[in-house]
Symmetry: C2
Subunit: 126 residues, 2 copies
Amino acid sequence: MTQTALEPLPPDLFPADCPVESVPVLGGRKWAWKIMRCLESGPRRFSELRVPLVGITPKVLAESLRAMEQDGAVVRTEFDENPPRVEYALTPLGRTLLGPMDAMCAWSREHLGSLLAAREEYERAH
Amino acid sequence: MTQTALEPLPPDLFPADCPVESVPVLGGRKWAWKIMRCLESGPRRFSELRVPLVGITPKVLAESLRAMEQDGAVVRTEFDENPPRVEYALTPLGRTLLGPMDAMCAWSREHLGSLLAAREEYERAH
DNA sequence: CTGTATCCTGAAAGATACTG
DNA sequence: CAGTATCTTTCAGGATACAG
C-alpha cells in the first residue's frame, strides 16, 4: 500500500473576504464576547453593562456597542425620558450566535486543563 | 401578571481567569484560525504553510506556531536532515477545537448575508 | 529551508476630563 | 444617565535583512 502524498495547499485556500473574519465576536473586539453574555439575559442599560465589564471605559463600551449594532447583533433603543434612558438588547440575529459561542465555552471548560498543562510542559522543556 | 425585574448583573460575572479568553483561536492571534485550517488535512512544513497564508511574514508565522505549540494545539517535529525539515501538525487536543470552529463557520455561512445587510442598513440610517 | 534580529507602523484600548 | 473629546499607551503585526 503506497503512501499517497498530501495535497498541496493552494494559494487561494482562503478567499479574500473569508467569512469567519467578520463574525462579530471573532474579530479584534476584545469585549464583544462578554457583552454578548451580558445581554443574553435581557436588555441592559449602558451603566448596567459597566458593572460586570470591570475596567471598561465608557469610550470603549460605546465603541463596542456601536460596532455590534452595525453588525446587526445588538439593537439600541432610546427612550425619550428625563433622565435619559437607553437600552441595548440582542437582536434575533445576535441570539443565533449564542449557540456557536456555547460550543466554544464547552470546549474551554472541557479542555482548559489540558491547555494549561501544555503550557507548563512547554516551559519545562524550553 | 406582574413584570418580574431582570436580575442585576454582578460585578464578578466574569472570573479574572475567564476560560474563553484562553481558547487558542479566540485571543488576539490573527492567523491562528487559518493555521488550524491549514493543518487540518495533515502535517505541513513551514514553507508549505506560507503559500495559503498570503502575506504572512516568517516572523509572524513562527510566533503564531510557537504560541499554538505552547497551548498544546500544535506539535513541531524536527527531522535531522540536510536541508533541514520541520513539520507542524495538530495534536489530538488541537483537533478537538475543530468542532467548535466548524460551528462558527456554519454560523458565518448561514448569517453573513444578514450581517452585511445590517451594515448597509446602518450606513443608510446614520 | 527554517527560521531570528531589528525596527517600524497602526489600530484598539486605556486614562482623563468634560457635555447634553 | 449616557455618552463624547483628546491624548497616550500598548502590542500584535508588518518590513526588511540576515543566519544556521
